[in-house]
């Protein structure tokens, strides 16, 4: 009589007793999953490299003016990345980030065409930093150029615009 009643209750879905085994398995599974999470979380955070701590460079001395001949370009350090200082055939100075916008190769000045050239995938930029041909998607970042110092001793100072 009593058993029949229990059966009916189970069949109706009301008050379904949880089996002891199911309950214990669930507790065990929950324990294992949460310990795995507690271990993997610090590991995940550890894998993320911390910020380098170097402040973004605002300006740098690229070269002495006398070192830069017309129709040449030289690379200089701009913080932790390379910069390119170009003196065009007319003697005018321009500076860019030397990091190609395609895949981060370092660009160089091509004197024969008076253009900026990336050797990795043959990308060309004009002397305003705009893409002329090749795969680069964006123009090069251009920097402001100032010439400071006593005549004959001038330094070329490059700064972020």
């Amino acid at each position: 009589m009593e058993r029949q009643k229990q059966k009916e209750e189970r069949a109706s879905g009301l008050d379904t007793p949880v089996e002891r085994r199911t309950f214990l398995d669930a507790v065990l599974g929950f324990g294992i999953v949460s310990s795995a999470a507690a271990i993997l979380y610090p590991v995940w955070r550890f894998l993320i490299p911390p910020a380098s701590g170097e402040p973004a460079t605002a300006s740098a001395v690229a070269a002495r003016l006398a070192e830069v001949q017309p129709n040449t370009g030289i690379l200089f350090r701009f913080g932790s990345t390379p910069g390119l200082l170009v003196r065009d055939p007319n003697g005018e100075l321009r500076a860019f980030s030397a990091v190609c916008t395609h895949l981060d190769c370092t660009v160089q000045y091509a004197a024969d065409t008076s253009q900026i050239w990336c050797a990795c995938h043959n990308g060309f930029y004009d002397l305003a930093g705009n893409v002329v041909s090749g795969p680069p998607p964006r123009p090069l970042e251009q920097f402001a150029v100032d010439v400071r110092g006593e005549p004959g001793e001038e330094e070329v100072v490059v700064s972020r615009v």
Binding site: P42, F46, L47, P49, P50, G53
Partner: protein, 360 residues
């Protein structure tokens, strides 16, 4: 179910039936000394923690005299949870050595090395030496003052080995002195050579344990032979769950130690600074260190240090060959002499470690 389908798929290709049969049939004997069975698994678990935390440390560590110390400093101060990973690696190394020694002495005293388990013992002994090698080589890697001078002393001991000593010391140091070259060498040893050897030996050790089953103490084995049944327990899942419980205890202990007792980094090594007072190796080398300190300069006209180093080599060789020397226990008779040797060794290590710790 998805899980079953994946297993079936694998089974069709790999035929896992024998493995499944093996796991289902594997039993662990239950008796008064069964508690010692946990130590082997616990050692392996701590070794796994060492591998995992070590791999993580490689991501930021730089093995050069100029950068090693700074990179460890960077790990513990800049990298997120870097302090945790480094402290876990240092503490787990120490727990691992302690548990491995406990495993060694329990197997020694229970005479589990007796026929047919001689090879299990030999691989285990070699693994214990490898663990000490891990400890010795890893100690230098942060390139701090204590480690630098301890490594000088430690590699200098190798120089006391007769005839080949000088060559051995040069090979260990990668030159005449402890320099950045030593650091590169120890790094290679610590993360490539020793792990490779350990992997092979652990595989052999485990294979032997699985093939032969758990050893039962002599007296209980005798009772079984007399017809009394030894109670046992299925390995999976019953015993595995107990093993996991032991691992949880280890994790909890490690986490507490790493959080509340951070491992000191000390000062950067400087070859031209005077040796700081109280220079001493890791605790598990203290007994050896103190023994060498106590030996007189000359014994019977031979340098005391040479005698000490030779004695330790002889002791190590003796330990490796214990199963072949203890003939009585292999015949199934008690061997009180070897019990005495084990107890003497244990007492010697404990006393000399404590004395070495408090000695000036």
């Amino acid at each position: 179910m998805m899980q079953e389908r994946v297993l079936d798929w694998l089974d069709e290709r790999l035929d896992l039936s024998s493995l499944r049969h093996f796991i289902a049939e594997k039993k662990v004997p239950i008796h008064a000394h069964e508690i010692w069975y946990y130590l082997g698994g616990l050692t392996l678990f701590l070794f796994a923690i060492q591998v995992a935390s070590g791999i993580l440390l490689i991501l930021y560590y730089r093995p050069s005299a100029e950068e090693a110390y700074e990179s460890v400093q960077f790990i513990v101060s800049e990298v997120q949870f870097g302090w945790l990973i480094r402290n876990v690696h240092s503490w787990s190394a120490n727990l691992l050595i302690a548990v491995a020694f406990a495993h060694f002495f329990s197997v020694f005293l229970l005479k589990s090395y007796r026929r047919p388990r001689e090879l299990t013992w030999v691989t285990g002994m070699l693994l214990l030496f490898l663990m000490l090698g891990f400890g010795f080589s890893g100690y230098l890697l942060p390139w701090n003052e204590l480690a630098f001078f301890a490594t000088k002393v430690g590699t200098g001991m190798a120089g006391a080995v007769p005839i080949i000593g000088d060559g051995l010391m040069r090979v260990l140091r990668g030159g005449d002195d402890v320099t950045g070259a030593t650091l590169s060498r120890f790094y290679g040893l610590h993360i490539a050579i020793l792990p490779a050897l350990t992997t092979l030996l652990v595989a052999g050790h485990l294979l032997l344990v699985q093939r032969q089953g758990m050893s039962v103490p002599l007296e209980i084995e005798r009772r079984a032979r007399a017809g009394k049944r030894i109670p046992d327990m299925p390995f999976f899942p019953n015993y595995v769950l107990r093993d996991v419980l032991a691992w949880y205890v280890a994790i909890a202990l490690l986490a507490a130690l790493a959080a509340f007792y951070p491992w000191e980094l000390g000062r950067k090594a400087d070859a031209f600074a005077p040796v700081p007072p109280g220079i001493r190796p890791e605790w598990y080398f203290l007994a050896t260190f103190h023994t060498l300190k106590m030996l007189p300069a000359y014994i019977l006209g031979i340098e005391g240090e040479q005698i000490g180093v030779l004695g330790m080599g002889a002791a190590a060789a003796f330990l490796v060959f214990v199963p072949f020397l203890d003939r009585r226990v292999s015949r199934g008779e008690p061997s009180p002499l070897f019990t005495l040797i084990a107890l003497f060794g244990l007492a010697y290590l404990v006393v000399f470690t404590i004395v070495g710790h408090y000695a000036e």
